[in-house]
């Protein structure tokens, strides 16, 4: 019986660990990877739609199915992207300006600070998106970013 109890305990811990992994929020870095991925996909959908191709809708439906989100939430994701990139771009421009002045000897603390601000933007954007989506869609999207997307984006 002790063995069995141990086994059950281990099994329980595994289940808990798996559940927590699924529920775990994406890191800002993973969220950034998703934004890049979604931007490329959105570009393709938009290009097709502009050309009047029916495949634009099919591609969008496939993405919706892949993410596991509702159509409305998919639209919210798409709408949220460019403002995030605009904020990131502002930091990037600041970083480039610093790089121009620092030359070959940048202060890594300053770079870290700039990068931290980037991560903060991503965290805030992720949180805003989460609050804007249904819990079901967000859970599905989280699972997608934490599992499927990681396979493709290394």
């Amino acid at each position: 019986m002790p063995y069995r109890r141990t086994f059950l305990s281990v099994a329980f811990l595994c289940v808990v660990a798996q559940a927590s992994a699924l529920a775990q929020q994406p890191t800002p870095q993973d969220f950034y990877g998703f934004l890049l991925f979604h931007r490329a996909l959105s570009h393709e959908i938009t290009t097709r739609a502009a050309a009047g191709l029916a495949s634009a809708e099919r591609l969008e439906n496939t993405a919706i199915a892949r993410y596991g989100v509702s159509h409305d939430d998919f639209t919210r994701i798409s709408a949220s992207i460019e403002p995030v990139f605009a904020r990131l771009k502002a930091i990037d421009q600041e970083a480039m300006a610093y790089k121009a002045t620092a030359g070959a000897n940048p202060n890594v603390t300053i770079l870290q600070a700039l990068y931290s601000r980037r991560l903060a933007v991503l965290s805030q954007s992720m949180e805003a998106l989460r609050n804007n989506m249904s819990p079901t869609s967000w859970a599905a999207l989280t699972a997608y970013i934490n599992s499927t997307l990681r396979i493709h984006r290394r």
Binding site: S55, R66, D92, Y115
Partner: protein, 383 residues
């Protein structure tokens, strides 16, 4: 003096070299920095194959690198048009992306491949890192239909329980891999002779075909499924039907029975394509009887047969146990008499034991003589 100047110049040059080397060490450009890449072929919909490669840098030194991706896409080992070593550059903090979506319906089936070289171009002073070389592939096959490739036309009505079905199940097989996304529901179309069958649904994973009229030739009906525009090969389909009856050996057998006779008229039934049909329900139907002479013979009642063994069946024309018959019934004579009693138009239908239902395959005259019976004026097939 000149020598001193030269020496000073040398010292300064060496010192500068050391400064440059120190600079390189001071900016390794990889600390806290992640070099991301992707390279894959994905089925992103029934009729969508996505080949891509991308690279980006994330971290403290992300502004000191620029990604470059060189991509070649192939199908069955052949470079897809315009896709040889396609280069994408991106600026600092951006992602370099090469991506294409192909429609297998237009481009073809087989093994889609992508080869990517993902490079991270460092700023001067940063150490170079090795590029990523990656190749991926994905097999893409057409969807297809499975199921029996034919059903029977038995004149309409419900499906008789005799193994001749006027409905057939068909299943759409998307033929997608485990990791593929083929979320579209198959769209069914009868592309050739759609008037000959009906399908139970248009957008569905499985279907039921019901016969409406017989085929003219084998496989003269074609059915397709389409997933997102990716079509299956044509599924050739046939509506077979009983077509004709033919005498089988022995054609007739006249037997003595009590005071009269049993005349067996043997037949086999054949389908549209000349195949003999084993047990299938059938029935006869009579027109008005016409007396060939004054008689009081009881008229036969039309009947049906639900099944029989093997391929042969027979019509039993009989008259016996009739002492009051006028003219009198006889045992089969040798030679048989030509003493006609009465006759009627007789028609034979296959596919149902209910009189008047099924597919009409023969018309003949049901002729009774005092000592035997015969089918005369046989017309088969009727149509």
């Amino acid at each position: 003096m000149k020598c001193i100047v030269r020496s000073l110049h040398f010292v300064l040059t060496v010192a500068l070299l050391f400064v440059s080397a120190a600079d390189l060490k001071a900016v390794p450009c990889t600390a806290g920095t992640t070099f991301h890449w992707s390279s894959d072929v994905l089925r992103w919909g029934g009729n969508d194959v996505w080949t891509f490669g991308s690279g980006y840098i994330d971290g403290y030194y992300m502004w000191y690198w620029r990604p470059k991706v060189t991509t070649t896409s192939t199908l069955n080992g052949q470079v897809l048009f315009g896709r040889l070593n396609v280069i994408a550059y991106a600026g600092y903090g951006e992602e370099a992306v090469n991506q294409w979506h192909d429609a297998p319906q237009n481009v073809g089936t087989g093994l889609y491949g992508v080869s990517n070289i993902i490079e991270y171009l460092p700023d001067p002073g940063c150490d170079a890192i090795s590029p990523i070389n990656n190749s991926e592939s994905l097999g893409v096959s057409r969807p297809y239909i499975t199921g029996l490739n034919g059903i029977w036309w038995l004149g309409g009505g419900s499906d008789p329980a005799n193994g001749y079905y006027n409905q057939g199940a068909l299943t759409a097989n998307k033929n997608c891999g485990a990791g593929d996304i083929c979320n579209e529901t198959p769209y069914w179309t009868v592309t050739l002779n759609p008037q000959k069958i009906s399908l139970s649904c248009t957008v569905c994973n499985s279907n039921v075909a019901t016969s409406l009229v017989p085929s003219q030739s084998l496989g003269d009906i074609t059915i397709l499924i389409d997933i997102g525009g990716f079509q299956s090969p044509a599924f050739a389909y046939t509506v077979n039907a009983p077509y004709r009856m033919s005498s089988s050996s022995p054609y007739v057998l006249d037997q003595t029975y009590q005071d009269g006779y049993w005349s067996y008229i043997y037949y086999r039934t054949y389908d549209l394509f000349g195949n003999a049909m084993p047990s299938i329900a059938l029935n006869e139907q009579f027109g008005a009887f016409v007396n060939d002479q004054a008689n009081n013979w009881a008229k036969p009642t039309a009947g049906g047969l639900s099944q029989y063994g093997g391929y042969d069946w027979w019509d039993n024309m009989y008259m016996y146990n009739c002492s009051s018959c006028s003219p009198p019934v006889q045992n089969p004579q040798n030679p048989l008499t030509n003493n006609r009693v009465d006759h009627a138009a007789q028609s034979w239908r296959i596919g149902s034991s209910t009189v008047g239902s099924g597919v009409l395959v023969q018309n003949n005259t049901h002729q009774r003589y005092t000592d035997h019976g015969r089918h005369t004026n046989i017309v088969s097939p009727v149509n």
